[in-house]
């Protein structure tokens, strides 16, 4: 965990005011310890992403929550997909084949290719 000063040093170009707004808006989740903020490596990366979206990619302040929400949904959906794949990986081979075989054809919906 790092403190606010270290974070501002790591992510060049943001101000403490920016950061406080982002924390208030719950775009960034900081831990509090005795009145000071603490940030994990994930939050540092997220702060950098938000800064780059605002500053480099031209995402407007009002659009930012929308984009962030889509980004968060994207990662949550990917995690759900990974869970599904993990669950599938624990199934016997014939069950996996039944599920995944049809996904291999054109557009993922075709019949399985030739048998062995």
């Amino acid at each position: 965990m790092i403190d606010e000063r270290e974070l501002l040093r790591l992510v060049q170009g943001i101000t403490a005011d920016d950061l406080h707004v982002w924390i208030r808006n719950r775009w960034v989740r900081a831990e509090r310890e005795g009145g000071a903020y603490l940030f994990s490596a994930m939050e540092v990366a997220r702060v950098r992403l938000i800064h780059e979206m605002r500053h480099d990619l031209g995402v407007e302040e009002e659009t930012l929550p929308l984009v962030l929400s889509l980004v968060d949904q994207l990662y949550a959906t990917r995690a759900e997909l990974h869970r599904l794949m993990d669950a599938l990986a624990r199934q016997p081979r014939d069950v996996r084949d039944l599920v995944l075989g049809p996904l291999r054809g054109p557009l993922g919906g075709g019949r399985p290719e030739g048998e062995e």
């Binding site: 990366a45 992403l49 031209g58 990662y75 990917r78 990986a89 019949r111 048998e115």
Partner: protein, 313 residues
């Protein structure tokens, strides 16, 4: 070695700041790794674009690059992307308040499967299917000379395992080493995934690398340049003696054949190029001044072209 930043951003050499910024934005939007978590190549593209913009987006750095004082590399900063966290354990940190709350996969997948035509399994399709484990990605910084000459580095993984990474000679910045079978274990006896190690080559204080060649600047004294000398110089494979021919000058480039990056698979090794820089004494003494006054009157020459002795702008 990094490419020319103008080429990377696709802008003209005389493009103004606005055009450069617009080009960077457009390219960065298309490949920001955190916005394209499933695209493994996005990170390398984004790093190249960010490194180019780091130079061209900064008036001072751009001018220095244009003057040849800095090259296209060296602008890359090590960093960790958001997707490294959000695409792993942190996936639900921002999406759901309670990470313990399980997502109902049925909501998402049930709908999809319900509408798929020909959902039945049918008979007799028992094909071999290898459910290999996932790949793991790591980042490793190596010293310039290790990247050139090759080395073995032991890295400790987050789960406590150690891994010996063989760095092949001639490794380039940003190259990804694939260590077979060092990723996540496969299911049901299937092969494990691979560990992908992205290597960052640390810059060297003396050498820079362009392809297979090594470049360095060498300071020489006025007598060494005028009269010639034999000077020990470092190379990536140890010190050698360089013969500076009499009458050398600032900007004279000498080649040490075969002293660059070792060749791979039977290819010839690169060369080392040494660019001379004539350095005058800290404080010219009276003897030197007297000598140059007399010498200069008798032997005028024209370092800026034009007529000898002429002081033109």
């Amino acid at each position: 070695m990094a490419d020319d930043p103008y080429t990377v951003l696709g802008v003209a050499k005389d493009a103004d700041d606005k055009a450069i910024r617009a080009a960077y934005r457009k390219l960065a939007k298309g490949c920001h790794p955190d916005l394209h978590p499933g695209d493994k190549a996005a990170e390398a593209r984004f790093r190249a674009i960010a490194a180019a913009y780091d130079i061209l987006g900064d008036k001072d750095k751009r001018a220095r690059y244009d003057r040849g004082e800095i090259d296209a590399s060296g602008a890359e900063k090590p960093r960790s992307f958001y997707r490294n966290y959000a695409d792993g354990d942190g996936a639900f940190r921002y999406h759901r308040a309670d990470p313990g709350e399980f997502v109902d996969l049925g909501d998402i997948f049930g709908d999809m499967f319900a509408h798929r035509p020909g959902g039945g399994g049918g008979e007799g399709f028992a094909r071999t299917f290898r459910f290999a484990g996932g790949d793991l990605r790591y980042h490793l910084a190596v010293d310039f000379l290790d990247a050139v000459n090759g080395a073995t580095r032991r890295v400790t993984l987050p789960d406590g395992r150690t891994l010996d990474v063989t760095i092949p000679p001639g490794l380039e910045n940003g190259q990804v080493l694939r260590l077979r079978g060092q990723g996540l274990p496969g299911g049901q006896g299937a092969p494990a995934g691979d560990a992908l190690v992205e290597v960052e080559v640390r810059p060297h204080p003396v050498f820079t690398r362009r392809g297979g060649d090594i470049h360095m600047d060498l300071s020489v004294s006025l007598p060494e340049a005028v009269l010639g000398a034999r000077i020990p110089v470092p190379t990536v494979s140890g010190t050698v003696t360089l013969t500076v021919p009499a009458g050398s000058n600032t900007g004279t480039v000498l080649r040490l054949k075969g002293k660059g990056v070792p060749g791979r698979r039977g290819a010839a090794a690169g060369d080392q190029y040494v660019t001379l820089r004539v350095v005058l004494p800290d404080r010219p003494d009276d003897e030197l001044k007297d000598f140059l006054r007399r010498w200069g009157d008798k032997h005028p020459y024209a370092p800026r072209g034009g007529k000898a002795g002429e002081k033109r702008p």
